[in-house]
Subunit: 357 residues, 2 copies
């Protein structure tokens, strides 16, 4: 008996053959993300990565999983699917870079009702592009056809990244002390947070559409909201090499004390993750230019200040907490690499938490 | 300004405070999955795992991502949410065990419209239970509240596992040769595949409900379909230690040539993944007891034989390809550990593929 894909399963909404055909284009896309360590090819039961143990005395694997939330609704509305994968990969890379880790590999999950080859290819292109930019191998993925789960044309994506850091160089915030300065790196927009609230304000309350052009944004709402989540990984690795060199004295506190990725929970929930007990942070909101989209959202949505800084990044995608005497050098380093950055606050003695003044 | 969760975001359907409260119960659950290597705690930007490099000459990380497909619809219908996590972890563990790897850690993704604390806790309990059983640390997760994405009471889950294997002991099927025997390990039911077709046959064509009791199953449809995906990981690791010991001569072919996890794509798509060119497999379907649920599905759904073996596992959840002279010893080993198993076929010279006769 020779077995070929047949009809009953397809009638139930799952097309194995279509799935296989769609996946046939994968190897070429994934090859672009190949890096030292990758073994074999996607298509087996698992992705393989040989860790170069000679490079590490005590390698610590750092793993993080994330999604892009309801930013996806914008991708659906604009039928633009090749930036979502970039958002997700950059988000994940940022999350592990905060701990000092460099990415090794990434795996994606795509849940959908019916697989559309064109959309699938665009999504995977986004993953592959951002993986290549971050020197991260795309070694696996799962595409689930789940009839009756997702609305037509819709899907959900999640991704898991694994990176590595030498144990001694793990950034844990323990070196933070009162007087350290808080630097903010510019975001490109909402990144991947606050979309449910933003959509409610813009599309329900203001009755705009993704195609609406707003002069104050010099952009359409859709394009503004779809801006790709900035990947700070290579910049952060550069900062750590330059300011926390492995050669520095063993018990010397690192100049870069910690990073905090400003994602869901904004300043309020993310900065405390890296603060030691008895250290608080004061953020001075007049120190940077809050981009027009955030001003618009806050004003039109009458979002109280305190909530705005918990839901949105307000123009700051990544925070670095640094020794005061290195702050100017760090800012210079960051700006020379094309990122905008400001000194936005300081560490103070007190309850662990964030005050925005 | 002190910042507390407020109302606009909640009105948009996202409740950060609820999310934080729900997550407050996590540390206790995750502690049960703690194993050597885990550093720190969940709550940072990434999960940490120190790889014990002294244990490996050339450690290869093996990673796999999966979901549970539309089996979730059964969980929704029966309001039973604590087995889904077990299905997913066991599925992932099996996928990497096939390559000879033992699990290190797991991360879950949960996408949902509105977070229900009771359901969330049940799902995570399932993840934690199966992780503990598989000696796998649950080191991270993401729960996305996505209003307007999922139907009320519904959610999707995916999970990523990372394991490790010594490079020399990676099982790649290269040792497979004509005359090897194919052993089949019993599944507990559909595991996590073929649910869209099964639901169509049982609930649409036959108009049964999950509560329908069928004498031939001695069970309700719902309970039958929710049976937990068998985790073969510990058994497979035991088999490899016993039959492919590290001490065996370097160039000697391993007695256990390969495993194939019978998941989506059934026998037809999964077994060829491990076959070398010019090797085919013949499966003799009279050699094991096809469980009543599969007979029911095939008969009621008039599913052609050729399709049944591509959509369903037909009672075989894992296949081992072994040297003929070790087959009886392997079967004995497996049965002594409480698994049912049969010799179900053999490797033949010919086109890479599977014939079911």
């Amino acid at each position: 008996m020779q077995l070929k894909p047949t009809k009953a399963y397809a009638a139930a909404g799952v097309d194995i053959d279509l799935g296989n055909r769609v996946k046939a284009g994968l190897p070429r896309l994934l090859a672009a993300t190949r890096r030292a360590g990758v073994i074999g090819r996607v298509g087996g039961f698992g992705g393989l990565f040989a860790l170069d143990v000679k490079k590490y005395r005590e390698p610590v694997l750092v793993a993080s999983v994330d999604g892009v939330g309801t930013k996806l609704k914008l991708a659906f509305a604009l039928d633009c699917h090749d930036t979502i994968g970039q958002d997700l990969v950059n988000h994940c890379v940022n999350d592990i870079a905060v701990l000092g880790a460099e990415p090794l590999f990434f795996l994606d999950y795509l849940g959908t009702g019916k697989l559309e080859p064109r959309v699938f290819a665009a999504i995977i292109r986004g993953f592959a592009k951002a993986c290549a930019e971050n020197h991260c191998a795309l070694i696996g993925g799962e595409t689930a056809q789940m009839p009756g789960f997702y609305q037509p044309g819709e899907y959900d994506v999640s991704g898991t990244i694994v990176g590595v850091v030498e144990r001694k160089r793990l950034l844990d915030g323990k070196a933070i002390r009162a007087g350290d300065l808080v630097l903010g790196l510019a975001s490109s927009g909402l990144h991947t947070n606050g979309y449910s609230l933003a959509r409610r304000i813009l599309f329900e309350q203001m009755r705009l559409t993704p195609k609406s052009y707003l002069p104050e944004l010099q952009n359409t709402i859709g394009d503004e909201l779809l801006r790709v989540h900035v990947g700070y990984g290579p910049l952060m690795q550069g900062l750590l090499r330059r300011f926390n060199p492995p050669s520095s004295a063993r018990n010397q506190a690192p100049s870069i004390r910690a990073f905090a990725h400003i994602t869901g929970g904004g300043f309020i929930d993310n900065i405390p993750r890296v603060l030691p007990r008895n250290s608080g942070v004061v953020i001075h909101r007049e120190t940077w230019d809050v981009p027009p989209i955030f001003r618009l959202l806050q004003e039109a949505g009458r979002v109280p200040d305190r909530e705005a800084y918990q839901v949105f990044n307000m123009g700051i995608g990544m925070v670095a907490i640094v020794a005061a005497n290195q702050a100017q050098a760090v800012l210079k380093f960051v700006r020379r690499r094309g990122h905008r950055a400001w000194c936005i606050g300081e560490v103070v003695r007190g309850r662990r938490g964030v005050e925005v003044v």
